[in-house]
Structures are given as structure tokens and as C-alpha cells.
Symmetry: D2
Subunit: 263 residues, 4 copies
């Protein structure tokens, strides 16, 4: 279980989300409260959109709390749309290639959760990645595979549907060759314009997902747990797909299961 | 506050102390129980004596729990005398040069604790390091300085006296330019033959220090907290200097304070 | 193109091969003479056999010449059989998981060379790795894939045949979807008892392979280029498979091509 | 001997200097032509001025050519004033704290060269760092010491004089306790408004220093060796102190020696 935070709105310094708040992502890296694993010290990453279509990407394997490069970068760089992640490995090695977010072209993706028994069918999962996208397969995580499969399912044209289909295919593999709980996840991803987030589980224990509009920042934070105690955050119900745009939030049902049946 | 473990006796695989026990040093790296900081993820190190007079030294800045090199090394290497450490930085950077143990010639040293207000008089402290030893000053920690000052005070010929004098000099600086608590420490060090350990504080809160003879291993472990719950460990009282040799343990009073007064 | 060195014989300190000789592997890491790339600074690794059936493995991403852990390890550890490698990436990321040697159970493998156009058919290559071995697929290199495919082809029972079949399958993919030169390689691998090495290319430019018996060490070094200038080294001809055992060297033809045709 | 490049002018992406040119700094990291050491793979760093008074700082110990974070950062970040450095260690460890540039407040500094016999008088050199600046002493390099001593000598108010005095003091130590050549250096440093550079040696072998105005970029690059072959670069003579400002370049004599005599 990892922790993550994303932002969309008026440009702010990355540190406004990553390190400044009382329960900032960096604070969560050594003291998460709503995660099964309190320590998320197996690497971190941040992807931010700037002047170019492709986002910047900075990932390293140190604990986020002790990386001076991360501190300096987040204090200098402003962005209207960024995603940040601290990792608690569920088994795969601590390596930059296994750190979130993952970037392909103008798309970036990060994930928290697990696909039950993934190690037992990783090869089958990787076979679901289309050839043209395979060069982007750099690491060994289920998260990167989910992203690449979703891109293959048409993430660019149909974000919700593609992620449903990709999740359904991995969920089917988990039901066939894996173990319960089959899927527990939150994920956030973006094309540089819209910020998407999903909360989903095949059981009653979907990881938490929150968002909050800040009048002060004129922007919205989307997080795996609130950045400040005592603030009022909107909790997203399980089985939800969220689209965050300038004019607000759209929440639709996220239903990979029905597809899984027909898969 | 860091966590450490040392061993002297019949040769055992390093993992017997470092990773195998239920509350092994690696386990403590993400769940210390008797330390103020539960997480010790700012680097680790192990120094072991083998066929050569100088010990081997392996240090890195990853959390100990996620380093495959450490796992492999401790599974392969046997030693009759070794020291291992997991670090929770009290401010200085996460860098290999700031990781314990420190090695000079055939001597190795590791430390847990703090010298009150050290940042305010680091320069004065480094001035206490004699010129011939100064090339060994690689990092910025109070621990490495204490070691080098003690070597300058004659650690080779009078381990207890030299460490008392070195501690007294730093304690004096802390009283003069630093802040209370002036000294809280445990330390373990060795010349490759004897294993020494000290527990000391200028207040009532000396970090814990334990040791235990294992009939099974025919050796003794000396640790900052017990390696197994339910085992019977001997607790060393504050103000003690321990010498561990084949024929047993010698415990003497450790009294830098009186020296501090006259310093 | 990487550089590597292996040793089998009376136990010697790893440094006898890795760092001591005038043109040691570490020296080659910043000044290889018979390699297209003079600099091999994209990580290193050493696997050594000791008291256990499984070898020790130490890999890191720093240039070999600047890693104090490597220096200390090779100065402390003695082994009768070990493999060491310095890497010059041909494209894949600098990551520990992409560093050689690779280890599966008691087998270890390292490689120098290239499979033409590999990036274009990496997915097909990974499909050749049997399910039971897939969890060992940690990185993205052609080298690790070749090793795992060879294990799947029966490396344990028929080292030469299995590596011929594995090479043939990748060569076929390169002819089908890749580019010339299809295969250029030297490789060394071991089960902890015998040391194997191969030199092979589909064109006239097979990477160099040498070996030399040392009376002084009572052991044999097998290398991608000689460790000392002026010494007399035996050059292995292209298309050779070498088996190094206590009682000497067996050199057989290595012929994956004929198999490739029928593949 | 390291390699470095700096820029002042209209904001450009860092990659315009760091990675894009044919003989960019990253290219020089594995093939410097005017440096005694062709390989500069012992770490790198870049400091850039942005919206804040303090510069951003990104340093790591990988070879610059293989760091994806550096590639992404330099492709995303634009700056009107930045300094970049690739390091070839002259002895001190490969550690982020030993990587250039060094930053104190709004000042940043990088250096190429050596102070003869520095290891023999490092302690004396560090004694020249005033107490208030000592907390900024993070590593062990002569370069960082020179910077901090110069700050202590009044770099803020008298850049040229302060660096002359600091250089003179280290030169005196080298003459007293060190070895010839006593000083060989180029350095670049900035307060966020002006870019300074110096070329100096106590013998005839001052490292090279060049600068060039680009009409296309509307800015000036200052480098240890030209970024493109065939371009026309202005070579700065030895014993020069350069101040680069919007309205052009001021070159004054740099004469620490006379001060060294009276020191």
C-alpha cells in the first residue's frame, strides 16, 4: 500500500502538496494513518506538467523524507497539474523503474493497491501489453502493467472504459490464477489536461480516496488520505471514477466486474 | 536514535544477528520498540572481521529491509566478530559517509545517541581530531568525530580511558556551547579481538544496552534492544563500560563527567 | 559491450581478479582496450560461491572504480569460484536489476554482447521464459532473458545444448524481427562446480574471450580481455563452448545456428 | 579535473547547455577533450535560479549520461541563470555532498581544479571557515572549503577580492604544508544576478575557460571547454576574473599571489 497526492488548478509550487501541509505526502511517508503500512520508504516519484506536452518526471529510491533533491525540486517548480507518490513495496524490488508515477508520452499514471496473486500470473499480465507499448515496460510492477494495458485498451479516447477493461482483464487473471482479494486500488492519472482518479475493490476494503477544493490555491487536491487534520475533505465512494476539470468534478460508477465476466 | 547489534564468539553467518531473529536488526529498522524513533531507514552498515586485520565494511543509504546486497552478504559471510547498525538521522545527510560503523585501521566504531547542540560546535569538535587522523574524517556526524577523538586520546592502549576523555571533551563543549541533554549514548567498538560497549547519559535517559550469551551459537550478542521477545537478556546499567572477551564480560564504571569538570 | 572476469581454482580473495591486476576488471571499467566502449560505468556485479549452495551476489549502479563497498568486499571475501562484471549499458536503464551476474538458485550467469534489434522483440523473447522461471525476470535486459530461456531449455542437465537452443531461439527472433548483427556474445556461467564460457557471433566480430592458468594461484581466470599486459593468455576461437573444471578445460563447438534454421 | 558549464541570459531550458549541444556537458562527462581526465562520472549537479531568491539544486552520484532524472529536469526547467557540473573525483568520495555546485543562501559555486597537497592540510583549511558558515560544510572537498572561506572573506560585497583572499589563504597553506602545483582552478559562481568566473594557476597550466554569446538564445554560455566544435569561443587568459552581466563582460586581473605573500 502506497500513498499519493495529485493537484490540478492554478499553478502552485509542488511543495504546497508534497511537503508543506501538516500531513503532507512526505509526512505520510513515515507516518501514514489510513494505510495498512505506516512506512512508505521504498522510493518516491513526482510527475509534473509544465511548458511541454510531456510531463517532467523525478523518481528515486531513497525515503522521500531524506531526499534533498526532492525538497529542492518541489520548492522551485510550479505546476498547474502534478502527481506525487511515495511507495511501500509489496514485493518488487526498490528500483527507480518500479517507482510511480509512470509516464508514456503525455500520459502519467500512479497507483496504490494490489492485484491478488499477481506474482503468479505476471507473465500473462505482461502478455496483455501490446507490442508497440512494450518498450515502455521498464519495471516489474502490477501498477505499470495496469497502466500499459489501459493505454492499449484506448485510455486516450475513453479513459474510464479503458481502465475498466484493463482492470477487468487483470481481475480475471487474479480470479483464474491468483488469490483474493483480487483487486484493491486507487489510481490517479492524467493526459496533462484532465486529472482522473479511481477507487475500486473486489471486496469491502477499497483504499481511501479524497479530494478537496482550496479557495486559497484556486485548485483541487486529490489524495489517498487528507493532507491536513481537521480539514473537510470529500470522500469518494468505492466503485467510482472521477474526472477533475477546471469546471469541477464528474463522478461516474467504475465497473470492471461486469466486463470481467464477459472477458 | 539508531539501532545496532554486535556479536563476538564462534563464527556465525552475519544474518544470525542481522536479519534472522524475530526482532532482528533489520526488523528493528522498521519497527524499533525501545527507541524514540521507530523507523531507522536512513542507511545501514555492517563491519566484520575476517582473515585480515582490517575489517570488511559494507554501508549503504537504502533502508536495510530493502537492500538485496545486505541480504546476500549477511547470508554468505561468517565472522567471529562483527558490528551492524541501522540509522535514523538526527539531522546530518543520508550519505554513506555518515553511516555507521566507522573504520580506522583495525578499529571499528558505531554509536547511538546524541550530543546536545552538536551542530552549534561541530567545528570545535572537529578541531579536537588530531591532524594524523583527520584524513579519516569523511562525514559530518558527531559519532565519527567521537570515534576519531577517542583514537586521538589513545583508544588503542586504553579503550575505556580514551573514550571517557573523548566523551568528556564533547560533553564539555555541549555544556559550553550546546544544549541539554548533553550526552545520551550507547556505543560499540572493537579492535578485532575484544568487543567493547558503553552506556552513558548526562541525564536519566541513557539509551538501552543489552547482551546475551547463546549456548547454541557459542557466542554473545550485544545490542541496543533484544533480538527476540521472551528471551532473557542482561541489561547493562547506565554509566557502564563493557569489555567482551572469550572468557566473559567485564563491566566497569564509565565516568567522563569527572574528567569533564577538570577539562 | 561490457567487460567481465571469472575465476575457478584454489580460493583467492576476489580482489586478486577484480581489482589487483594491472588491467583488472575495475581498471577496465574506465579503460577497456579490446571493447568498443572504453567506459563501463553503468553498474557492476560480482557473484561468488562460498559455504552455501547459492552464491553471494553484490551488484550496484555506481562505476566500479568508485564503490568502497566493492573494494572492501573483494578484499575480504575468498572464493574458489566467482564471476564479476562491469556494465556499459546498450540502452536499458542503469538499475541493479539490469546488472550482471544474474542468479537463479545455484546458477549464475553473465554476458557481454548484443542481440540485434532486441528492443523490437523483447516481448516475444520474454514469452520464451517458462512460467515457473518468470518470477526471476527482474529487469529488462536481453542477457537476463537469455539466461532464463537457457534454464528453461535445460541448462542444469545439458549446459551446452541448452545455451545453444536458447541462443538459437533469440537469434531466430533477431533474424525475423530484429537487425544484423544478430548475435555477438561472450558469456560465463556456473552451477557452483563447473565454470562455463562461450564465445559466439553470427558475423566475423565475436567479442574476445581468453583464459589463463596461474601456477601461483593454482587457479584459472576466464576473461573478456587479459588482466595483465605481457602475460600469455589463451584466446578462445569464435563458436566455442568452454567447460572449466579441476582437471582442465574442454572446448567444444558452439553451434546454435543449425538449430536456428530448424526453429 | 571536472567539467562545467554556466549560462546567463534569456531563460532557456537547462538542456540547451547541459545535454543538447554536440559537445554538451553530458557529452563531456564521457569524452572530455581538453581535460586531463576524459571521464567525469563521479557525480554531477545543476543549480538554477528561478522564481525564488535561493537557487534550485539537483545533485546525484550517477554518471550524468545515465540519469533519467537529470534528463527530465533539464528538459522541463527554464532558467535565466544556471550552473552545471560533472565531476571526476580527485580522491574524495563519490557522495552527493561532494558534488558541485554548492549552495549557501542565494549564492552558488562550482569549481574545477586542485589545491596541491590538500589532504595534508584539510583540517587547517576547514579552520579557515568561520563558525556561522560551518554548518554549511557538508562534504570534504577543497572546492566546498574554498567557497565557504570566500563567503567568510566577504564574497557578498567584494566577489573578486574575497575569492582572491580565500584562494591566497589556501595557496599559502599549499606552499606551507602541501605540494606543487599549488593551485590550478577555474570556478564559476553567482548570487542569482551576476555570473562570475575565474581562471587561475600558480604554474603555467591553468585549466581552460571559455565564453560565448549566442544571438539565437540571447544569452551567454561560460564553460570549461566549448560546447560545439567549430564554433568561435572567447578564451579567457589565465589570471582573470570575469563578471558576466546583462550589459556584457568585465574581465579583471585575478591576483591572489601578492596577497599570499603577505599572508
Amino acid at each position: 500500500m502506497c500513498r499519493w497526492a495529485a493537484y490540478t488548478g492554478e499553478p502552485v509550487f509542488l511543495e504546497e502538496i508534497v511537503s508543506r501541509p501538516g500531513h503532507s505526502l512526505i509526512h505520510q511517508s513515515h507516518g501514514a494513518t489510513q494505510s495498512k503500512t505506516a512506512i512508505n520508504a521504498d522510493g518516491f516519484g513526482v510527475a509534473w506538467y509544465g511548458e511541454r506536452e510531456e510531463p517532467g518526471l523525478f523518481r528515486d529510491i531513497l525515503p522521500a523524507w531524506s531526499d534533498p533533491n526532492l525538497r529542492s525540486l518541489t520548492a522551485q517548480v510550479k505546476s498547474p497539474l502534478f502527481l506525487a507518490h511515495v511507495r511501500a513495496s509489496t514485493g518488487t524490488a526498490t528500483s527507480r523503474n518500479n517507482c510511480h508515477p509512470f509516464v508514456v508520452g503525455n500520459w502519467t499514471f500512479m497507483h496504490n493497491g494490489q492485484i491478488g496473486g499477481y506474482d503468479g500470473f505476471r507473465r500473462d499480465a505482461e502478455m496483455l501489453i501490446p507490442d508497440p507499448l512494450y518498450p515502455h515496460r521498464k519495471g516489474a510492477t502490477d501498477s505499470e502493467a495496469l497502466f500499459l494495458i489501459a493505454l492499449g485498451e484506448g485510455l486516450r479516447d475513453d479513459a474510464k472504459g479503458a481502465l475498466e477493461r484493463a482492470t477487468a482483464r487483470l481481475e480475471s487473471l487474479s480470479r483464474l490464477k491468483g488469490a483474493a482479494p483480487h483487486v484493491r486500488m486507487t489510481a490517479a492519472f492524467s493526459d496533462g489536461k484532465r486529472l482522473f482518479a479511481v477507487r475500486y475493490a473486489t471486496d469491502e476494503n477499497a483504499p481511501t480516496l479524497y479530494h478537496r477544493w482550496s479557495e486559497m490555491r484556486r485548485g483541487r487536491a486529490v489524495v489517498s488520505e487528507p493532507l491536513e487534520a481537521g480539514e473537510c475533505w470529500d470522500s469518494v465512494p468505492p466503485g467510482s471514477f472521477c474526472t477533475f476539470e477546471a469546471d469541477g468534478v464528474t463522478i461516474e460508477p467504475f465497473e470492471p466486474r461486469c466486463l470481467a465476466r464477459v472477458a
